[in-house]
């Protein structure tokens, strides 16, 4: 009897904050029963950099480039959400062409983010061949982004009242070439990821989240869509040029015929969104109106308009990982009175608790990665409990070491 009890007893394993299996700094504590996860707890807040604090000491024209640095992957999402919030407060009307430029760059960002995720997912499964292939395919979108905006990451293209750079006709052939490349490679990608026996074995029925759970846990983006919830900010409340484009949210049953809400479905949704993004960029290029791309070319006028503005607004956009929300309040000063960032992972992270329950240790990396977590987007607060500090200086460590030696000497 006592032996049985021993087998049934639980133990806990900590994973993180820095761990090779996690691509983001976060601390997980798993209560295990044998190989199976019984309970999960996690502690975010390891990546807090005080960006909002910095923002409240700068004017909106400065902040818009600070938002680029919130996340390395979804650079344009944050600046777009922030610019939309400020534009609403200051009642700035963005030129129509700027909306199209914003849409094109946002879709390129989705392309590269989803392909990056696909590579990371393959890597978490131990399938590094596919990881390198996926990142090779991703490189094409990075090259186009670099060609259009000047840099691979931190594009710096969004400005309050429009965009800073126009896409000219002579740049279109390069964009068209990349779209052609992705159309050619899409079938191969779907085949490599979805028909592979290893991926099917590891991802099907792993990390399952039902439609009801997804709704109750307020998940957003591809994580919610993979569970069958048809929600997409681009479709539900269109911004930029999405109102003019013809598309519907991607759901797994469109490809598979049914929705399971497992990791496999999340791969399906993200890969199909790559195909959708190519189509959206093509639609943008075809319907692009002519005209200005910035509401006001003279910077002192933009600064003055932002200073005059009073009120509060919310900028919502669909980042590659889900809904990204920026709340800004201006009170007639140069700097905003309040700026709050809510990234998509903040909404998605609670789904880990349900997804990980009952899974094996070996599945933890892929299930954690399946919501495409981004802690640098999410971490807005760092909580420190109590007043006791545990900083051990060299002198303290030396003292402890000496004490231990003496203790051991006494025992032996």
């Amino acid at each position: 009897m006592s032996e049985n009890k021993k087998i049934g007893s639980t133990y806990s394993i900590p994973i993180g904050p820095v761990h090779p299996a996690l691509k983001e700094p976060i601390l997980f504590t798993f209560k295990m029963n044998g190989e199976l996860v019984e309970e999960v707890d996690f502690a975010p807040g390891e990546c807090h950099r005080g960006i909002e604090w910095m923002g409240m000491r700068r004017n909106p024209v400065q902040i818009v480039h600070l938002t680029d640095r919130i996340c390395g992957i979804c650079g344009v999402s944050h600046s777009l959400a922030f610019a939309r919030a400020v534009e609403q407060i200051a009642e700035i009307e963005v030129p129509e062409r700027a909306h199209y430029v914003r849409t094109i760059i946002a879709e390129y960002e989705r392309l590269q983010s989803h392909l990056l995720w696909a590579g990371v997912a393959a890597h978490e499964l131990g399938f590094d061949t596919l990881f390198f292939l996926a990142w090779r395919v991703r490189e094409e979108s990075m090259d186009v982004i670099e060609y259009l905006t000047g840099n691979r990451v931190n594009y710096g293209i969004v400005q309050v009242g429009g965009v800073r750079r126009d896409f000219t006709e002579d740049q279109f052939p390069r964009i068209e070439a990349s779209l052609k490349y992705y159309e050619d490679v899409a079938g191969k990608l779907l085949n490599l990821f979805l028909e592979d026996r290893t991926i099917q074995m590891r991802c099907k029925n792993t990390g399952v989240m039902s439609e009801k759970e997804a709704l109750e846990l307020c998940t957003v983006g591809p994580t919610a869509r993979a569970s069958g919830l048809a929600m997409d900010v681009r479709y539900d409340s269109p911004y930029a040029a999405y109102g003019d484009l013809d598309f519907t949210p991607v759901l797994p049953h469109q490809y598979l015929g049914l929705t399971n809400g497992d990791v496999y479905d999340r791969i399906v949704v993200r890969l199909l969104e790559v195909v959708q993004s190519v189509d959206l960029i093509r639609q943008c290029l075809e319907n692009m109106p002519s005209g200005e791309v910035l509401w006001e070319k003279k910077y002192p006028k933009i600064l003055a308009a932002c200073k005059k503005a009073t009120g509060e607004a919310v900028g919502r956009i669909e980042a590659p990982r889900g809904e990204c929300l920026h709340y800004v309040r201006m009170d007639g000063n140069t700097n905003p009175q309040c700026w709050k960032v809510k990234a998509s992972t903040y909404s998605n992270q609670m789904s880990w608790l349900n997804m990980l329950k009952g899974e094996q240790i070996a599945d933890i990396p892929i299930v954690v990665a399946s919501i495409d977590p981004c802690m640098s987007c999410t971490d807005r607060v760092a909580v420190v409990h109590g007043e006791r500090t545990d900083i051990l200086t060299k002198a303290d460590l030396h003292r402890l070491s000496v004490e231990k030696t003496r203790r051991l000497a006494q025992w032996s």
Partner: protein, 134 residues
């Protein structure tokens, strides 16, 4: 092989050229500092980096004579990397602080600021001559 579609793809990749540009050397030298020294002496040649795209934002260029000291660049700089020099009414830019957004270039009313193609900016001293533009 229908259940392992990656295998034919891997075999195909064997005969393709590597996608990575090997910079600065084709094979990892036993000592990077020694290698760079021999490049300086002209004994070895550097494998060139990938070309920078048009509109690339590298190290900032400052045209001191054109500058009128209007301070607009200081107001739009997100990183507070630009310092005003009241004696001469010109500015000083700290490259280590700069985040390469080129917003000051757009804002400048007399076009005194530009972005160069230079991106290899590592230095041991953040206040060295190379890291301060004035």
């Amino acid at each position: 092989m229908s259940f392992l579609p990656a295998i034919p793809e891997v075999l195909r990749q064997f005969f393709k050229r590597p996608a990575t540009n090997l910079f600065p050397a084709k094979y990892l030298p036993s000592s990077v500092t020694k290698y760079l020294k021999s490049v300086q002496e002209g004994n070895a040649a550097i494998n060139p980096p990938v070309e920078t795209p048009p509109n690339f934002r590298g190290k900032i260029l400052y045209d001191r004579d054109t500058c009128i000291g209007c301070k607009l660049c200081i107001r739009v700089c997100p990183a507070n990397a630009i310092e005003f020099l009241p004696d001469t009414k010109k500015v000083r830019i700290f490259v280590t602080q700069c985040i390469f957004c080129s917003q000051c270039n757009d804002a400048c009313p007399v076009d005194a600021l530009h972005m160069s193609d230079e991106f290899l900016l590592a230095d041991e001293d953040r206040y060295s001559e190379n890291m301060i533009v004035e």
